[in-house]
């Protein structure tokens, strides 16, 4: 890899690092909008749906879910595990759904207007 390419990918990594900060909540909420899930399923959903660009540790997911439950946007119910102990199946509360809808309409949907969509069309990557 040339020096120029190396610098380019370093810049890309630095930008992505900053860009991904704050995205975990959105991905967790999307996972739960998709349906009730236990932690392993949330992790798998986030990694699959983001094309592996987002990774999350179980501990980090539990920590976030505890906070979301505390503020009333997520709750859980106990369900049967796979031959093991009962699992916690998390879901979005009404407040959580409303919060997600508002967040998406204010911050995500703007990427879908035609002008921005045209601008987002990529040229040939390096």
């Amino acid at each position: 890899m040339s020096e120029k390419d190396k610098q380019f990918y370093e810049l890309l990594a630095a930008w992505e690092e900053t860009y991904k900060k704050g995205q975990l909540t959105l991905w967790i909420f999307l996972a739960l909008k998709d349906g009730k899930k236990y932690v392993d399923e949330i992790k798998a959903f986030v990694e699959d749906a983001s094309n592996q660009s987002m990774t999350c540790e179980e501990q980090s997911l539990y920590r976030n879910l505890r906070k979301y439950q505390h503020i009333g946007v997520v709750d859980y119910e106990r369900g049967k595990g796979n031959k093991g102990p009962e699992r916690k199946y998390f879901f979005l509360t009404a407040l959580g759904r409303e919060l997600l809808d508002h967040f998406v309409s204010r911050n995500i949907n703007l990427f879908f207007n035609q002008k921005v969509k045209d601008l987002l069309k990529t040229e040939e990557p390096l």
Partner: protein, 139 residues
């Protein structure tokens, strides 16, 4: 909100053990006229309590980041230390060089510091939502 977390309880248990050991050591040293050694014991006790608070406080924040600027751990330390000191004297375990007045003076002066900490805790609370720092809620 759940203010008494399991890490705070564990810290409390460690603190009870440390404080009992400190009081026993202090009374024994004073009774044996080892006055200069009490400084070393007090320093050791202070460092051990601080380290315990630091370790359990960090774990507590990782588990559930209550935005209390350390007030719960400070309050727990005050209550446990003062309670054990009072009981120690009421039970007559103290040496002839210790008296209840010094315990009460410690309680009052430390209590003033604790009150000040409480004021800062309340001020910091203005930047929180349901006890969590606004910037800590979403990641």
């Amino acid at each position: 909100m759940k203010l008494i977390t399991h890490h705070l309880v564990k810290f409390g248990l460690v603190l009870v053990a440390l404080t009992l050991a400190f009081r026993a050591g202090l009374s024994a040293m004073l009774a044996a006229h080892q006055f200069s050694l009490t400084w070393a014991l007090s320093t050791l006790y202070g460092v051990a309590v601080f380290m315990s608070g630091w370790i359990f406080g960090k774990r507590d924040k990782v588990y559930f980041p209550v935005y209390d600027i350390g007030f719960r751990f400070h309050l727990a330390t005050y209550i446990i230390f003062m309670l054990i000191a009072e009981v120690w004297h009421l039970a007559g375990f103290q040496s002839q060089y210790e008296n209840m007045n010094s315990v009460h003076i410690t309680g009052l002066s430390w209590g003033a510091g604790l009150l000040l900490h409480y004021v800062f805790y309340r001020i910091a609370g203005r930047d929180s939502l349901k006890g969590l720092k606004r910037s800590d809620i979403f990641e």
